[in-house]
Subunit: 532 residues, 2 copies
């Protein structure tokens, strides 16, 4: 793969010229019924409505040209086939493949990366057996009773994606099964999660690829101490998800171990054992396979080179239009679904850790904007919160709405002639139109400038399969953008400096390091913060 600088593409100049007069959605005829029906892309159970973006056919053509020039589909295909894309040419870097798609490439024969998919199948089979043994009573606690709760102990990618998926799908939980999550090194987090739990009926799922994540090991120690204090045997209550051969790969310490490979980045690991063990415990193995099937369908559909027929690719390019050409610093992801309440937090990690970079794949400093700030909360809640700024503030915030035609629980009530789910959807569509159209008024406080770009992604119902697909749509939106910006979306060197400084401060606190010249600053920080 030859990656070129973003600024080197001819389409970039065309787009910059087009951005001088972007489409005016507030003008007469700027947003019509015809435009709404024309600007729609469907696939894998999803419809993407993007008439409320500030794009014209000419802009879409130029974005298509950009996608072609940057070789986005070829890069994506290479990723699925196991190219070493996690690298910087000429400099020390992780030099790894990027194969989260192989985790779900277990339906086609042959798969695109056969060795990785064979490993994924092996772990899935281990998971199936484990879940069967839990169901049959072959695995029970010391008193012979079944386990009811799984507590996942992990942080970052070992927490946010699995937690977001669990919250999205817990409406489908097996009877009597639930999950909780411990991430923060804050001891109050552990204390709060464990309060009220029956430890004798609880399995802890400790997740760390390296087997050496400080927060996770600290929390595992806290958990083990509590299990012992309750008179229980930790080896019967802990399972591990880790790299094969890591310090955590120890059959004496864990009831069962599941493996993850180094070619699966933490933030892309929800469809590996990192997410599937807890999801399988709560939802059952069938639901796990549905999640994988939904993701895999999107993985395949994302090979389509026509941007108007490829949802993740189109989302990626619309994002680039809004960020690099219209100059908007952030993007809000606003799901009209309480079940997706933590999905924006997962995307925030997946996107910002992937594309918050300033160095090209050739090791040069970029001369263009890379990833935006990603944030969001579920609607309609947000309407009563930050939407004021989105409608009338001086910062323009592009919005990605996500919604579903039907609710999960089916518990609904008609009030004033419509159900809650209809109210939810009507609100989402109304916000999309209001942001685009704006409104003039004699009272300046009641004027809305409009032209606030947004799109709507909608599906029938948030099922395991649709959740898998939604996850994959966003994973690929992010990867396509990273390819286009010529950055490595798969490392995270930016988190290292903080780790090093934290270790030095902890050494100072523990008295392991005398106050030398080099640490006067750290000493002062600790003193002024009142810590020593």
């Amino acid at each position: 793969m030859e990656f070129q600088d973003f600024s080197a593409h001819a389409a970039v100049g065309k787009l910059a010229a087009l951005a001088r007069a972007p489409h005016d959605l507030t003008a007469a005829g700027g947003l019509t019924a015809e435009r709404i029906s024309a600007m729609k892309t469907s696939g894998c159970g999803f419809d993407l409505l993007y008439a409320t973006q500030r794009v014209t056919p000419a802009v879409l053509d130029a974005l298509q040209e950009l996608a072609d020039e940057a070789g986005l589909i070829a890069a994506y295909a290479a990723m699925r086939q196991g190219a070493v894309l996690n690298r910087i040419q000429g400099y020390a870097s992780e030099n790894r493949q990027v194969l989260h798609t192989a985790c779900r490439d277990v339906f086609d024969d042959p798969p695109m990366a056969p060795e990785a998919s064979a490993k994924a199948r092996r772990e899935l089979e281990k998971l199936r057996i484990f879940l069967d043994e839990l169901a049959s009573g072959a695995i029970v606690n010391a008193e012979g009773k079944p386990f009811t709760t799984m507590v996942q102990v992990g942080i970052g990618g070992s927490d946010l994606g699995p937690r977001a998926l669990y919250m999205a799908l817990k409406a489908y939980a097996l009877c009597g099964r639930s999950a909780r999550f411990i991430a923060n090194v804050d001891p109050d987090d552990v204390a709060e999660v464990l309060s009220g739990l029956d430890l004798s009926r609880t399995l802890f799922n400790v997740v760390s690829k390296s087997g050496s994540t400080l927060e996770t090991l600290t929390n595992e120690e806290l958990v083990r101490a509590r299990i012992v204090a309750a008179g229980l045997d930790p080896a019967l209550h802990l399972v591990a998800v880790t790299g094969e051969g890591s310090p955590m790969d120890d059959a004496n310490k864990y009831l069962r171990s599941f493996y993850m490979e180094d070619y699966i980045g933490g933030r892309y690991s929800a469809t590996s054992m990192v997410g599937l063990v807890t999801l399988g415990f709560v939802l059952g193995f069938e639901a796990v396979m549905e999640i994988l099937r939904g993701a895999h369908e999107v993985d395949r559909a994302a090979m389509e080179p026509d941007i108007r027929a490829n949802i993740p690719l189109l989302l990626a390019l619309l994002g680039i239009w809004n960020h690099n050409f219209l100059g908007h610093a952030t993007v809000a992801v606003l799901p009209y679904s309480q079940a997706l309440s933590r999905f924006p937090a997962h995307l925030q990690q997946c996107d910002m850790e992937s594309n918050g970079k300033s160095v090209t794949r050739q090791g040069k400093t970029v001369g263009w904007k890379t990833g935006p700030v990603v944030w969001g909360e579920p609607g309609t809640n947000g309407q009563h919160a930050f939407y004021q700024l989105i409608h009338q503030g001086t910062e323009v915030v592009p919005v990605e709405f996500i919604g579903f035609r039907h609710s999960q629980y089916g518990l609904d009530l008609r009030v004033a002639g419509t159900g809650s789910q209809q109210k939810l959807l009507a609100n989402m569509l109304a916000q999309s139109l209001a942001l685009a159209l704006g409104k003039q008024d004699d009272n300046p406080v009641r004027c809305f400038p409009g032209n606030r770009p947004n799109s709507i992604l909608i599906a029938d119902r948030l099922t395991p399969q649709i959740m898998g697909g939604l996850l994959a749509i966003y994973e690929h939106r992010i990867a396509f953008q990273g390819f286009c910006w010529n950055i490595n979306s798969f490392d995270q060197e930016g988190v290292q400096l903080g780790k090093i400084l934290a270790t030095r401060l902890l050494d100072l606190i523990a008295g392991r390091m005398a106050a030398k010249g080099s640490s006067a600053l750290e000493e002062s920080m600790l003193q002024q913060a009142g810590i020593r």
Copy 2:
């Protein structure tokens, strides 16, 4: 009060000139132990460390001049005394006082706004009696058993602030008492919250100032239907917080009603009955008074005109420096405390709904930036998520850290010579230093540009009193910024257009409106979204 345009102040020109060469924290001597100890402001149990902001004494002097020219302290004092600050001169507007501070001005004699504080005292006395009756067994369920759970039904300000405070303080819950929250019109939200609840032991606290919030009324209907279906009497299970005389002020329908006044904005209502009824149920009346005492102490301290001795004022001006002069579009609030996990969401509302405005107090369009995008998640979680972009991305994100020297639960374990709470603090301080200092490296991927502005707000422990103080610090930071930008931080006209359009779409869905020319767009939106 005479408010002037932000651009009219002489200090604005000085600051713009200073911003051309902001302080370089990465230079030799740019960040020293002396600077850290000099740039510290303490009060009401808090220390603010701001050496890691890109400011010099000259910048601070100019910010002081801006505060003086803009009359920020006079405006704040007028607010506390009941001036009609929620208005736009010459145009129809809410024309209300802004008196959330009066809710906690119940310790001084005389208070600054005697009539409002007298009303607050009256409601507090009603609350004290209600809580006493719950404690003594005078109020019990139909079977004579005590209530254990309060479910607050509200949205926006009637949800985010109370929920954030509940999560922050539930470590101090009375034995057997807890709370839950229903906000979203999404029927799955109600279903999920009610699943597993013993309705016979549950009180529902329905909160709506107007008594007519669509989401809240819909959710109240869902709740009432469930209570009736369980064979219980809703009038014995619901309490109301609403405006006196609103449709919800009905003794036949509610066990008890508490009042809120129209001069308390929803997003500033956590220290009114909107927050205190549920917090009192869970924490007891003493804790309620501690919250109010902490907020009131900050309210008083915020009268100090010296910006170097006034924490909320200094935070406001540092924010203006970063946003208006250094050009950063967002601000991240990152609490190193899992208990504060929802505090950023509350601030997101309070700040963005207050200052996401484009019209001056005189009804002119602003010619300067107003409120930034506010977002955040608790550390250390965020370190494993979006910190990559904060350290190495192309968007510079100013950060406000919040931390505590001691944990709430006291459940901690020493691993590798230090406790979890020490690890948490060391990480926070390390991030502050890393963002400021950056690091050079031969490998471009390991370079950190530094000069990423941040500050640290630290207190001993997150108690009810400190939580009250923290809430007030941020409320006033926001109000000071709004005064400085010459905008009305207390209305929310920007949420109206979406409501109007949503109502039209619901009319279409319910078949109450024929497809006329004016609604072809809405019809198309519904059709393309697959809703009709």
